[in-house]
Symmetry: C2
Subunit: 309 residues, 2 copies
Amino acid sequence: MQTFSIAIHGGAGTILKKDLTAELEAAYNKGLEEAITAGYNILEKGGTALEAVTAATVSLENCILFNAGKGAVFTKTGTHEMDAAIMDGRTLDAGAVAGVSAVKNPVELALAIMQKSDHVMLSGDGALQFTKQQGLQIEDDAYFFSQFRYDQWQLVKNENVIALDHNIQTEKKFGTVGAVACDAHGNIAAATSTGGMTNKNFNRIGDTPVIGAGTYANNATCAISCTGHGELFLRAVAAYDVSCLMEYKGLSLQQAMETVTLDKLVKINGEGGMIGVDAKGNTSLVFNSDGMYRAMQNSKGEKQIAIYR
Amino acid sequence: MQTFSIAIHGGAGTILKKDLTAELEAAYNKGLEEAITAGYNILEKGGTALEAVTAATVSLENCILFNAGKGAVFTKTGTHEMDAAIMDGRTLDAGAVAGVSAVKNPVELALAIMQKSDHVMLSGDGALQFTKQQGLQIEDDAYFFSQFRYDQWQLVKNENVIALDHNIQTEKKFGTVGAVACDAHGNIAAATSTGGMTNKNFNRIGDTPVIGAGTYANNATCAISCTGHGELFLRAVAAYDVSCLMEYKGLSLQQAMETVTLDKLVKINGEGGMIGVDAKGNTSLVFNSDGMYRAMQNSKGEKQIAIYR
């Protein structure tokens, strides 16, 4: 019988037990538990991988703790610019949005772009216009606000880009959420969503909405969702590289993800991690940073929720 | 001795001899000749592949006939939104810009993003702000205007997206420019620039500025610049797929480009083409459409300028 499974992440980076209070740790675990359950329940009822990754990602977007949707980081001008992508491994259809504001669930917008537009990638105000046309939910600034992210922004907002990046280098937290799933039909899908980097400038786009870099899915190989220092994942075409290592070199999901995350990305200082699934329902969660908010569950009864290495 | 070489393209699609007047054909050939010469001269003087692809792409952007820079197509709102990318195969550094207006040479902006920012990809108004900060040249609407593109836009501007795409499907012209080069040191680079699709809406982003899709370069494999129906090239992660077929399956540049362009892209109706170079100075120009504006020149004395199949 086909194993169905789901894996999620809520970002990677310098996440150390000593830095998290017991309350905050419990809150993160609860957020991960809710998201994995939202996705797994769909798979259990015979739903598709596409539906499962959407539901899990929406759950993470709606949780104020994670840097996506509600609780997204602030840009240099105090706004929230969000990126998201989704890909269906069965059809190789994909949808992505870059630098959109006010959209409650950017992953649902990515799905609408995939299913209801002739395009793969929309951005900025145009993407917001499409959102409204599709009747997707819009929220005001107050919805996205979180004191934690605001304070984080205040700390760095007056520094210039170099200083900021130095700061980010010190902090090394790459807030992104994502999900990958394999359904009972052996179809797989991937979704990723993020608010990007705190204090980001110039309408910067990271790897999240870039098909092949932060997000990729193909039934023949794998579904991958990444989190990390976006620029390096972009240059590495990280998600598709995993797929190619499987397709062209015959590596397993685990081997391919380890090659990219623990070897190739490390060599270019590409800190972060990724979650993956193949069409047999195998899951893999790999990261080269100190921690990655993550969870997995499958129909063989395995379940894991973890934060630290 | 190391062969140095350069290849350029000015877009692919339904380009038939019967549709081009002798004057227009001569004008296109002149535009291609000027661009290949601009790039080749740099290589001949010992310049880098990065400098050569930039110069050739700038030349194509400055030629009103091609859909990039001056002469870029009109969006649904009558503006020009341009995309460009550049990648250095020696360092795997990359720069890209999506949906920027008013910038005379988007490829130079992509280069500045690569060399002078901490980011790989900027977009929209933020990218324009960065352009001004860098002192790159800005032009007004009149500079980008071309009667031909305006008339093209008038024909479709009142149709909705579906009708427009039907129209574009009929026309099947994918205006993009790009260059790939291998210098005397065996370093390679790729650059691509475009105005996108006529009457495009919602700040659509195509494959051009997406590292791995429309543009990729890696000394270990190849430098690739694509032109075609962007959405399909995005889903296929076309440029990086060529690189992976070479690296992981041992295919030659020509074999890998043919696999992607004449087989994999054809299977998903991904009409278009690509130009490529490897670190030995081999060049390849492959397309599955009726024509592709293209040229190549190398230090072995080979030179070609062509339009039709």
